[in-house]
Symmetry: D2
Amino acid sequence: MSTTAMQMMEMHSDAMQGMDLAVMQECIEACAACEQACTMCAGAMAITPEMAMCAAMCQNAADLANTMMRTMLRPNGMNGPAMMAMHQAMVVMCMSCADECEAMAGMSADCAMCAEVCRQCAMACQKMIDSMLVG
Amino acid sequence: MSTTAMQMMEMHSDAMQGMDLAVMQECIEACAACEQACTMCAGAMAITPEMAMCAAMCQNAADLANTMMRTMLRPNGMNGPAMMAMHQAMVVMCMSCADECEAMAGMSADCAMCAEVCRQCAMACQKMIDSMLVG
Amino acid sequence: MSTTAMQMMEMHSDAMQGMDLAVMQECIEACAACEQACTMCAGAMAITPEMAMCAAMCQNAADLANTMMRTMLRPNGMNGPAMMAMHQAMVVMCMSCADECEAMAGMSADCAMCAEVCRQCAMACQKMIDSMLVG
Amino acid sequence: MSTTAMQMMEMHSDAMQGMDLAVMQECIEACAACEQACTMCAGAMAITPEMAMCAAMCQNAADLANTMMRTMLRPNGMNGPAMMAMHQAMVVMCMSCADECEAMAGMSADCAMCAEVCRQCAMACQKMIDSMLVG
């Protein structure tokens, strides 16, 4: 997460409706990393027919990671049920994408690295879910 | 949904893993309309402090609508659990956004129209969920 | 372009800073069609190494088409120089993508169809440029 | 830019068609920061009618920054003319957005910070243009 965005977020912490700022910043960071790794994984493949599903799933994960990140960056739009539902979708998307990438890891170093970043993103989203259940 | 995209989708119907094509095309159409209405609602407001939440929620809904639409447009990436989780998130997002827009409808004709489009999108996503549960 | 978004746009025509509404609605329609065709072209390929460049260029074109469309859907953000520069970029992106898709058209019906939609989008953006130069 | 994406990019440096990797990584970083700051600026405003243009322009800049970043993250899609045209559009968009944010800086600390990030992004894109002209 960029330094400026982090400072802006801290200025608006009271609009954040009880979100745990530290957990959310970590999750924004993980989503940004997931979007970048998945975009590059899909856009760098020495593409073969076996890779087609992996490329499309990575592009889906990249799009959702970006949307998830933006939702956390809009203090005025914090809506509990929508945030919860999106984080749940992001966990499923990241785990499915990580599984597919892992299956391709023997053929592609990109996929092995991308799988790892997707799993970290799933964990960061799960931490957000846990913190919202408590908060 | 554009005529060309619809024709392309029909050429790839066997990659669609048991998705109901007619229900999916209707849902793509509803997501495209939701993205356009929400983008315009957020970007046309004679903005006042009361409108700030509505603008941010509409922008969140526009982003998710686009991601949802793209996921349905990638035949190679059809993954049941990820599709299901995304449609569930989209229903919640659309209903929350429609409620907020409806609360602003007295002040803004955009919000009244946007609320209606969001509800239609929620229904189209619910139909996708129902068809996946049966399929 | 969805009926509701078109009605909303007409309500805000005086915020449109001298844009030609009919030309702009046609361009929004062309960008929406371009995003859908390019997303599907990239996400449906029976991918082979020769197709890798085409898939990545289609995904680039889909992303820019969406951004271009959104910029035209935000009446409050109409900024002449930014609009002009984006339309110029979109013409170049669409023509490059159409050329690459056309080179693949013998191997893929998707690519032939996608090339055509990209050329139409380039023309619609050129019409916007022409109308802004006159207006 | 995330560490993993940077490592993946280095693995694919020969697909980068003569792009200067160091300049491009700096530009990806600047676009990511621009998307985050602009999204937050638009989504955090204690919105007043004077702010409406700033919010819409920031959202336009955020969308283009994301598209610009993704284009640099797809080694298979590197197309010189399209890259050049996009960077030129991004310079204009960032400068227009920075000007509008700066005009609002007296009313909003977000806008002052966002203006600065937009100018840095414009400079990073200009460096890419310069490196492509030489390369």
